[in-house]
């Protein structure tokens, strides 16, 4: 009778004999071999006996099943074959063989080549994960229902407007043609500073030709802005305001 030895990085986790009944492999707890890893599908593959041959079938899993490094759909297995699923390996052994000897063989074999391959979380798992983390209470910050567009109010200095709505992902403060906050005056830099809206919808100010200060402190790296922050750069003073 054949046996399946589940291993993770040379540690044997489980041994399962394959008799008349098939052995299913997957992440759900009702499988014969459970592999709890996001790269593994809930019902990933199965191993069964058919006319005296040991067969492996992949259930169309997203990240695949690999036998001796080759992605497979349905193959017959032989003792010594190495089945890679995610980062786990299932080694096929013939239980008639001397057990220790078999394991030695197995351990000296090179790891399946695809074991560190990048894999993708299945759509369903991705949704589950995002729902789970949303339940932790982070959702309001991560995905605001609607973005409130902040305003830059000019408190001091010479600019072409008295306030600016930060509706763009990139706002440049300077003299250049692409600047939103246009500085007037002879010695003003083309681009004094920049404000970026990031994917989480928060706004960050960063240095360009000048290092701006936020509430009097020069910024060492891009700095997240909050309503009421006072920015000073290249002779202008601006207030970052989020209005309700």
């Amino acid at each position: 009778m054949s046996k399946l030895v589940l291993k993770f990085e040379n540690t044997v986790l489980k041994e399962v004999a394959v008799g008349a009944k098939e052995v299913s492999i997957g992440r759900s707890p009702d499988n014969g071999i459970v592999i709890d890893n996001p790269a593994v599908s809930h019902y990933h593959a199965r191993v069964f006996n058919e006319e005296g041959r040991l067969m492996l079938e992949d259930f169309g899993s997203l990240n695949g099943t690999f036998v001796n490094g080759q992605r497979v759909r349905m193959v017959s297995l032989r003792p010594g074959d190495s089945v890679a699923i995610g980062k786990h390996t299932i080694v096929v052994t013939d239980s008639v063989e001397v057990h220790a000897h078999t394991l030695d063989n197995v351990q000296s074999k090179p790891a399946a080549p695809r074991i560190n391959e990048t894999v993708i979380l299945e759509t369903r798992d991705r949704r589950e994960f995002l729902q789970k983390v949303a339940a932790v209470g982070e959702s309001a910050q991560v995905a605001p229902a609607r973005l409130k567009v902040p305003t830059l109010v000019v408190l001091k200095g010479s600019t072409d407007q008295t306030e600016y709505s930060l509706s763009n992902k990139l706002t440049v403060v300077g003299k250049s043609a692409m600047a939103t906050v246009k500085l007037k005056g002879w010695f003003k830099p083309k681009a004094a500073a920049q404000i970026n809206r990031r994917e989480d919808q928060s706004y960050y100010i960063g240095a360009a030709d000048r290092v701006p200060t936020v509430n009097g402190t020069p910024i060492a790296q891009p700095t997240k802005l909050k309503s009421g922050d006072i920015i000073e750069v290249a002779g202008v003073q601006l207030e970052f305001v989020i209005r309700d």
Partner: protein
């Protein structure tokens, strides 16, 4: 704006094939990098389809401004940024369709990261864990955030960066091209300044080298081709566990300027 660049890709020391793919159109300052994944040769197919489709769509738009956008336009970004996002959505469909039609390519996918510089403005779009960095005044900043399982947990405060660096799940992506019929790229815009250096790279580089090592190479080597070569050499020395790719893009008139010099001196002296 004229940019110099150096683009290099290498199989590394462990893998047998190179599944990374690079494409660029220096005449319009467009640079694209993709890291493919999937069994047999399908990772190579996925990354090539992704970079080809992204490049073709952008170049077509250059000669035909009426070319429709794929997907909904993003508000508050330039035309080039919207075109880049459109190109990546198209690339996703191309990879997805190929993987559905060919059983050997089932489940293949790819990351993509693209940079398009127009005048002083740079559009950055990406899906997956390939990255864009910017070196400005000696400081290296990552402009993209990985669409990976661990990075997502760090962003949500469920894991520290230290835990993420140790995690066995670093190779699990949340977003990639070719997996779902639709994908939404992240798009950011940046100002390009004299003296800036931009780096596009695959995770084969960033898993082997620290930010300090990358910054060291980009600061000390002026020629972008030499810098790209050196990055790959160092990543191989560190193990070369995956395919390694780097595109180094640098302002052609790299006059550092008085402010840059002072900034650099100030940084070194601390």
């Amino acid at each position: 704006m004229t940019m110099d660049f150096g683009a290099r890709t290498d199989t590394g020391r462990v893998r047998e094939t190179n599944e990374d793919s690079l494409r660029y159109a220096p005449e319009t300052n467009l640079f694209i990098l993709s890291d493919g994944m999937g069994g047999q040769a399908s990772g190579e197919v996925a990354s090539r389809l992704a970079t080809d489709a992204t490049l073709a769509h952008c170049l077509e738009a250059e000669s035909n401004s009426a070319l429709p956008l794929v997907g909904e336009p993003i508000e508050g970004v330039s035309e080039a940024s919207n075109r880049l996002a459109s190109a990546i959505r198209l690339a996703n469909r191309v990879v997805y369709t190929a993987s559905q039609q060919n059983s050997e390519q089932q489940g293949m996918g790819a990351t993509v990261v693209a940079v398009w510089i127009k005048n002083d403005r740079m559009s950055v779009a990406h899906v997956g864990d390939s990255r864009v960095y910017r070196l400005r005044g000696g400081a290296l900043e990552q402009l993209t955030s990985d669409h990976s399982f661990v990075a997502e947990q760090v962003r949500r405060g469920l894991m520290t960066e230290g835990e993420a660096a140790q995690s066995k799940l670093q190779n699990v992506l949340m977003r990639a091209l070719g997996i779902d019929p639709e994908v939404e790229p992240d798009v950011t815009e940046e100002l390009v300044m004299e003296g800036d250096t931009i780096l596009l790279c695959s995770d084969g580089l960033t898993r082997e080298l620290s930010d300090q090592q990358i910054a060291g190479v980009l600061t000390s080597i002026d020629d972008p081709e030499e810098a790209a070569d050196r990055l790959i050499e160092l990543a191989n020395q560190a193990g070369g566990g995956d395919n390694i790719s780097a595109i180094v893009v640098r302002h052609a008139d790299r006059a550092v300027g008085a402010f840059g010099r002072i900034g650099r001196w100030f940084k070194d002296s601390r």
